[in-house]
Symmetry: C2
Amino acid sequence: MHLMKDGVKGSQRPAGLRASRVADTEQRILDAAAELFTKDGYAATTLTAIAEAAGVGHRTVYVRFGTKAELLKRALDIAVAGDALPIDVRHRDWFETALSAPRPAERIDALSEGVAELMERAGALFAVARQAEPVEPLIAEAAQRGREATRDNLRAFVDKLDADRLLPGGSDPDWLAATATLAVQAETCLLLRQTHGWGTKQYRAWLRRTLGQLLGA
Amino acid sequence: MHLMKDGVKGSQRPAGLRASRVADTEQRILDAAAELFTKDGYAATTLTAIAEAAGVGHRTVYVRFGTKAELLKRALDIAVAGDALPIDVRHRDWFETALSAPRPAERIDALSEGVAELMERAGALFAVARQAEPVEPLIAEAAQRGREATRDNLRAFVDKLDADRLLPGGSDPDWLAATATLAVQAETCLLLRQTHGWGTKQYRAWLRRTLGQLLGA
């Protein structure tokens, strides 16, 4: 659950047919990058291999995306959001529902479903980002901002339940926010996969149940 | 919370004074390694720098420990256990107490305290191991065995509560074991530090409270 879309290259694109071709080329590069990063790992994947797989020249990849780290970050941003629109997680429909549905159970359903779908799209690239974090300051910084955005989003989720008087009596919003944040961090989904071999489906069921227990819903 | 001590070098040590000198030299090397790994990161730390900091020849480090990855693994094993004795977490006093104290609250206290102390000793080296995991198969394998050992230990913790009829009515031991395992994994303590800036003291308080909520104690 990341805030994103800051500093995305190509935001001032030419209009019309040419813009459509540019977007198509970028999409092919991003698809090839996501596939190769996931298959071969971060260190073993080169910009040249990505260019070949996308059917474009090495220079095209370089001009459009710069470095391997920037290409990974852009691929991850798109996988997290589900599309290339400049709308962060906080303003996606599913998160808006999690903040405003009438009953706590509906909010938890929307949050669990949204987070699980996000991990379904982006889990493999989060695993790649974790490989890259020790060696790529750009990725380390993006990952840290992602963790903090998730923390702030879940804080908003708990505070809104509190403001709407939907928390169980005696709840501690600070503990709830910290614990719910842990449950939805990308690292947690990856860790549960490593620990139990869980796929996204099992993660979704666990997340729904855990948030339900935390919030008595 | 790792099982460990398999394949530890130097387990057949010479007796008497010479053994004491050997152990002393190894300890100096391990202390230097832990300090440099933590300060400079895994990639930037060399066996030569460790040898210099320990005041021994490069060859001594090589003969005693082999590779940089083996040295990190050995340093981490000792930090996890708290000493060089061949006793895994499962058979440490604090974990035995967590399995057998008369009341659930005492078991949770022992577990929270033991895990928090383990992370106090080993947290910095777990962070180094996470840097090394993508590039060192030995560390990746040890980390994976550690995650699985933690899972098995927490399963034993929940099953023993169940066998002793100390779980709240209607509990689901599978969900409890999975959720308690997540709470005590090394990755979780590191993630909470990254997300909230928590030190070990705040982690211990959160862990005590979270296990208490899970187990109604």
